[in-house]
Amino acid sequence: MAIKEDVYTRIFQILSYAIIIIASIACLLPFLLIISASLTSNESIIRDGYHFIPQEFSLEGYRTVFTFPEEVLRAYGVTIFTTVVGTTLGLFLMTMAGYVLARKDFKYRNAFSFYIYFTTLFGGGLVPWYIMLTKYLGLLDTYTVLIFPGLMTPFLIILMKNFIRSSMPEELFESAKIDGAGDFKIYYRIVLPLSTPGIATVGLFLALAYWNDWFSSSLFINDPHKYQLQYYLYNVINSMQFIAQMGAGTGVSLSNDMPTESTKMAMAIVVTGPILLLYPFIQRYFVKGLTIGAVKG
């Protein structure tokens, strides 16, 4: 027979369930509203406002989005490409940097650590950064510019360094050396396999940063074919706002058909949908990586 639960535990359970239910409803309702709005005709949204059940059902929003599906798909492609390439390359570079900085027999490690650490305190600012990338590196309008600036994040390098230093004793490297391993072999045969939790954490941060990046596109990309997904979406919605606000005073008449409320909502669904479906499958890795990273990083 189960032990009888005491009243306080019961109350606690009821309370916590209630709070969690309320919180999840608060998360779900706005999303439901977006789905409903994406299926409502635009005029009805303006006239009657948003409703959970469409007052006037219409697929017009989705039709507009998919008139040029290749644009959305291309933006998807760019984001996936930059995320995969950026994360892989970034992980490679940052684990290398972390490993080198963690080795006590590297003479200049303090100087290098300081150099990296210093950039987290003092940045050059937006304009010099912009001039550097466009004028001196000539990266305007290239895919490289979407990937390159995010490859070495000081914070993540320091995180990686600390992780390697705390989880791998210096003696391990020494014994490997005695057994005849070179520095690079130690890196990929010993350090890499042992630091998977750290790699998961750093990789997660990197991947999210690339996936959510819109700022690089905004600054450095002129060619609409190279827009990242987030920027593509942001731009569409922003154009709408611009025309509403600026158009009145300037008399600028824009002949392009502007997306309507329902189109915006439909686009939000199209853009977030796949990631939402993907999330349940990879969620357990997220949780694992974060907890390990939190304890040891």
């Binding site: 303006i46 937006l126 304009v127 912009y130 001039i131 305007l140 005073g249 600028v252 824009l254």
Partner: protein, 513 residues
């Protein structure tokens, strides 16, 4: 929300500082190849690529148009052009970066609303006075001398103005079918407009008599000052200058005039014309009318009125919209200032002479002009009875009318209009009879000395003035007193004095009386 706003603010201040520093440093030459000879003349035997910068989004067929243009330009000028677009997302920040980073840019769009005057003053653009007769004599002749004179900043020309004359003055927009049905008066001034709204309120209780959104200042005050106080322009900081007496500056805030204005809004709010949640409404004014939610707009320009007519014609053929321009009441109409649409050559341009020559082609050569304004004939548009006709619909057509946002190089001789534009042309013709020059737009405000006060005042306005303008405060006089007190604390006095000083210098310089 507040976090991102703060960050944006901080960022924009940072950028502003950087821009000034960048400009002071002279931003050196760009990395582009230059075909300019030592004596300043253009070496046409050397092929160059021009970088062309526009605001907004590129139309879908842009690559095809670019290829066509390049075919022509290569033959005529031994040059190719790359058309770049900023998009409307943070375009002002990008615009600043483009001009301050010293990138090789040969041509860039300018307008009063992109701060042409301020950039020209800071030396971001190349003066065109000496270059024009050498590189683009036809263009120099094409643009009337009076226009060249009125775009001058500090005595120099920095932009090529557009010669197409249009009016962005306001006018009442209302549902004519409803007006006829209930036998309401035609809105021509505040009194008749109020009577119209009252009628709508009475007969169509579910409809909003007036279309409003959270931009209360733009929806109500700016239109009011054009119609009733006959202000010289959209003046900031509670400054008052009347069109008839441009040299006299007075304090609008706190004046009897303003009290009357605020009382009008209060009355409208009491009668239920202005909804209580107006400061949260985000829908555009036009959408509210075209969807049948609202019955009128206090003021909109002829172009946008026409857009609404077209939209309604297809969705609700039984509705009718009508328009009454404010100038017919006020007695004068000001066509847009030549600064309103133009193209400048940034200091960083490696090939200013070739760029200007190309721009001349764009404006004066029919082939270039039609291609860049309307696309490829047959594929993007057709000409029927002299009218522009789009091929397909705006969602299937890759290059709608003026799809490149090429307002600056419109050439009145080649322009094609949709048949619906006849109505706008009619309005323009009416306004032509009472036209007077725009005195306000040529003025370049320099707020570096009172930047902090300006920011503080903007906050005060948002908090204390907007609710007054939305008629949400019960006691108007008391509300106004509170607002003025807060505004004075924010440094209103200093701003007004400085602004007045600048205005007086400007008026004297331009010989405005």
């Amino acid at each position: 929300m507040t976090f991102t706003k703060k960050r944006k603010q901080r960022m924009s201040i940072l950028i502003a500082v950087m821009v000034i520093m960048g400009l002071l440093a002279g931003c050196g030459g760009g990395g582009g190849s230059s075909a300019q000879k030592a004596d300043g003349t253009d070496d046409k035997s050397q092929k160059v690529q021009l970088q062309f910068y526009m605001l907004g989004d590129a139309p879908k067929d842009m690559p095809a148009i670019e290829a066509e243009i390049n075919k022509l330009a290569e033959k005529d000028l031994n040059a190719t052009v790359k058309f770049n677009y900023t998009t409307w997302t943070d375009w002002d920040q990008k615009y600043k970066l483009l001009l301050s980073s010293g990138q090789p840019i040969d041509l860039i769009f300018t307008a009063d609303w992109t701060q042409y005057q301020a950039y020209a003053k800071k030396g971001a653009f190349l003066p065109l006075d000496d270059l024009l007769p050498k590189a683009a004599p036809a263009l120099q002749k094409f643009v009337p001398q009076s226009m060249w004179d009125s775009v001058k900043i500090g005595g120099k020309i920095y932009t090529v103005p557009s010669t197409f004359k249009e009016y962005v003055t306001d006018g009442f927009v209302w549902r004519e079918d409803l007006r006829e049905k209930y036998n309401l008066p035609k809105p021509t001034d505040i009194k008749s407009y109020e009577a119209y709204m009252e009628g709508i309120r009475q007969h169509e209780p579910n409809m909003k008599p007036i279309s409003l959104n959270s931009d209360i200042k733009g929806n109500l005050h700016d239109r009011y000052s054009e119609l009733v106080t006959k202000s010289v322009g959209a003046l900031p900081y509670g400054i008052g200058i009347k069109y008839e007496k441009p040299t006299e500056v007075y304090k609008y805030w706190g004046s009897d005039e303003q009290k009357e204005e605020l009382n009008t809004y209060k009355r409208w709010a009491d009668k239920g014309f202005i909804p209580k949640n107006v400061l949260n409404v985000k829908d555009t004014l036009q959408d509210q009318v075209t969807s049948g939610k609202a019955a009128s707009i206090f003021g909109d320009n002829p172009n946008r009125f026409n857009d609404m007519v077209i939209k309604i014609k297809s969705a609700h053929p039984d509705w009718k919209l009508d328009y009454y321009p404010f100038p017919l009441t006020t007695g004068y109409a000001t066509p847009v200032h030549p600064i309103h649409n133009g193209f400048a050559i940034p200091k960083s341009s490696p090939n200013p002479a070739r760029a200007l020559a190309f721009y001349e082609k764009l404006v004066t050569d029919k082939r270039y002009n039609l291609l860049t304004q309307y696309g490829i004939e047959g594929k993007n548009y057709e000409v029927k009875d002299g009218y522009y006709q789009m091929v397909g619909t705006s969602s299937t057509n890759g290059f709608p009318r003026e799809g490149m946002n090429g307002w600056a190089w419109r050439n009145p001789e080649y322009m094609l209009f949709d048949s619906s534009f006849d109505r706008v042309k009619q309005i323009f013709a009416d306004l032509d009879k009472i036209q007077k020059p725009d005195l306000f737009t040529g003025f370049a405000e320099d707020y570096t000395t009172y930047q902090a006060e300006k920011a503080a005042l903007e906050q005060v306005e948002k908090q204390y003035l907007y609710p007054l303008q939305a008629g949400l405060i019960d006691n108007v006089d008391q509300g106004l007193q509170t607002f003025l007190q807060k505004a004075n604390q924010a440094g209103l006095e200093k701003i007004q004095t400085e602004y007045t000083k600048q205005w007086e210098t400007y008026v004297k310089e331009k010989g405005i009386k």
